[in-house]
Symmetry: C2
Subunit: 147 residues, 2 copies
DNA sequence: TTTTTAGGTCAACCATATTGACAATTTACC
DNA sequence: GGTAAATTGTCAATATGGTTGACCTAAAAA
């Protein structure tokens, strides 16, 4: 009986992950829609924003997608002048990506919508719960069974 | 300075959600690959498993996708005899979906891979942290700004 | 009887991803 | 210097999963 309750609790946790993640992406998705952009563009904007002068291969390592999958959305961001290619360092093969002013504006808007959402929740639940949440998420993220 | 630290913490939380969710879906994705199925099929199997004799429209309400988007993966699950259409109740319009024996076997395998992953983490962090995690996720999931 | 609800299907389209192939450039090594 | 390997970019074909719009049947509700 206790095991049945435990199983029900774990099923609830599966659904919490699904529904929480869906709700979490929803705000940014609406902003992106105004610009005709998708989540692929968002992820590029976000990580280039966090890591100015990041190289393509480093971005691919983070996103774990193929270079072909990165190419199209990145080209669009370059064409729309949201991302720029900085002067290469000593290795002239690598392109160093950074946000333009417009790119930074959009990225800030997207990121703010998500940090606000998280801050609202964290404020409600308090610091201890936030810390515990981070701990669980960190453990999930570095699942050894993950590819 | 404190605000900068807070902002950094919120950015970390964004990434935790992204990386944790990705790691969480990875195990099931590998099982699905063996069967040539995708996440769309997984979600159908999962929710039909949780709600035997669910009607199509109820499934659409949960998944929040169009009936056209549901149609193809559901037809495939029916064709592969993983889901069956039960005899309708008093309303002869509605089809009541349930898992077949094979469907239940696959769904159990998929769900077990995820509940095990969650159970491993929850065991590490303890009940209090699990409870706090649930609280944060529940708040995230019912974001009033969500569509 | 008319309207609404539930479902199914077709078409056109878009976003995101894949693999494979190939070229250009640059670095690294012998 | 010359060759091999690595990095980036691009093309094509393909798959999945989603969208909207349109149109159909059948059954329930008004």
């Amino acid at each position: 009986m206790v095991d049945l309750k435990r199983q029900a609790g774990l099923l609830e946790a599966i659904e919490l992950l699904y529904f929480a993640y869906r709700a979490f992406t929803a705000r940014a998705d609406r902003i992106l829609e105004h610009h005709g952009l998708g989540r692929a563009h968002h992820r590029i904007l976000y990580f280039v924003g966090r890591h100015p002068d990041i190289a393509i291969h480093a971005l691919l390592d983070i996103l774990k997608i193929s270079k072909q999958a990165l190419n199209a959305p990145l080209r669009r961001l370059l064409a729309e002048d949201l991302v720029s290619v900085g002067a290469a360092g000593h290795d002239h093969r690598t392109k160093l990506l950074r946000l333009t002013k417009a790119g930074h504006t959009l990225e800030s808007q997207l990121t703010a919508s998500q940090t606000e959402q998280l801050a609202e929740v964290f404020k409600k639940v308090g610091w201890d719960a936030e810390k515990d949440w981070r701990q669980v998420m960190a453990h999930l993220a570095d699942d050894p069974h993950s590819p």
